[in-house]
Amino acid sequence: MTEKVLLVDDEQDFLDALAERMRFKGMDVSATTSPIDALKKAETETYDAIILDLMMPEMDGLETLRMLKEKNPDLQVILLTGQATVEKGVEAMKLGAMDLMEKPADIKKLTEKIKKAQAKKMIIVEKKAEERIKKIVGGKGW
């Protein structure tokens, strides 16, 4: 199944190259240099994973993560950063990031994490569907 991914990074050359490589791997990739645009995209589209830079001019990556999770707690966000510190990593995990990877990243590892994100998202979707069915069945009093 094709993984739907959103890349968010202020370095255009990085976005272009990574997006093209991920498309070669069969992923459906959207990319933006703007965290505000990413928030808009996440409202209208569903993604299996969002790959997010930690430091961007328009909005801090952690702040973007917080806003993304606020809008949709089920979103699987992987932070990709050139400035990984234990402190930032802990903060990102507390805010609900799925993982944090350091730049330059190994595309194989990143692909594995995206696949894990997709699997995790599917489990959440299935669980929610199951809960909905249980609620409907229970409500009918059969």
């Binding site: 050359d13 190259a17 070669f24």
Partner: protein, 226 residues
């Protein structure tokens, strides 16, 4: 364990860490672009091996992108190297006009993060003074940091150096649209005042002209035992 630190050393160490980490972060970004672009070249090579045609123009484009990033990394490393060596001598001769260009390079990522552009006005003449290079970098950085915050996102902070009285130099930080009395009162902070004192420098502001002016003497003597 107990130890004493004077405010100049403490501020200096924080400044050194801040500038170093920011520039190393920038290098990591460059490496990430090179990594992905080289990865793309590898992908195309594998495709070519399997008989998928790959145009030479695409290869040239990717190679030039890598070379662009190598030049970018070289510039960052040169800057950080010069910055690291600025602590070698307590005092040295500094051309302020050229120094401002160097400081803009060092501060570029901070400016980008705040959505501010820094622009130095070129000087027709060399503006040489004898000063403490590292302390001057620290003081100019504090002024720049304040100027960027005051100017606000989307603005361009201008930096201009000119000759002043007694062979001294004036650095003007211009286009500070948000300059107010209350903001001026916050800069420099109490412990930061040790820096202009050590450099025998003076910071003044002109709200009407939206400017901050840093006056530096032509020559200072630094007692490194202090």
């Amino acid at each position: 364990m107990s130890y004493k630190t004077d405010s100049i050393s403490e501020i200096g160490l924080q400044f050194f860490g801040k500038i170093s980490s920011s520039n190393f972060h920038e290098i990591k970004n460059v490496l990430a672009i090179i990594n992905e672009t080289a990865g793309l070249l590898e992908d195309f090579s594998l495709m070519a091996e399997q008989g998928v045609p790959v145009g030479p123009e695409r290869m040239k484009d990717l190679s030039s992108k890598i070379m662009k990033q190598v030049r970018r990394a070289d510039g960052i490393v040169r800057s950080i190297n010069r910055f690291s060596h600025s602590v070698d001598k307590p005092t040295d001769q500094v051309d302020i006009a050229e120094f401002l260009t160097f400081m803009i390079g060092l501060s570029e990522r901070f400016a980008a993060m705040q959505g501010v552009t820094l622009k130095a006005q070129p000087s027709d003449i060399p503006l040489l003074i004898t000063t403490a290079p590292f302390l001057l970098e620290n003081l100019v950085w504090l002024c720049l940091d304040f100027a960027m915050k005051v100017a606000g996102a989307g603005k361009t902070v201008g930096l201009a150096a000119e000759k002043a009285e007694n062979n001294g130099v004036r650095i003007r930080f211009t286009n500070l649209d948000g300059l107010t009395e209350s903001l001026i009162s916050t800069f420099p902070k109490e412990r930061e005042k040790a820096l202009p004192d050590a450099l025998q420098a003076e910071i003044t502001t002109d709200i009407g002209a939206k400017e901050m002016i840093l006056r530096l003497p032509g020559d200072i003597t630094v007692n490194s035992n202090q």
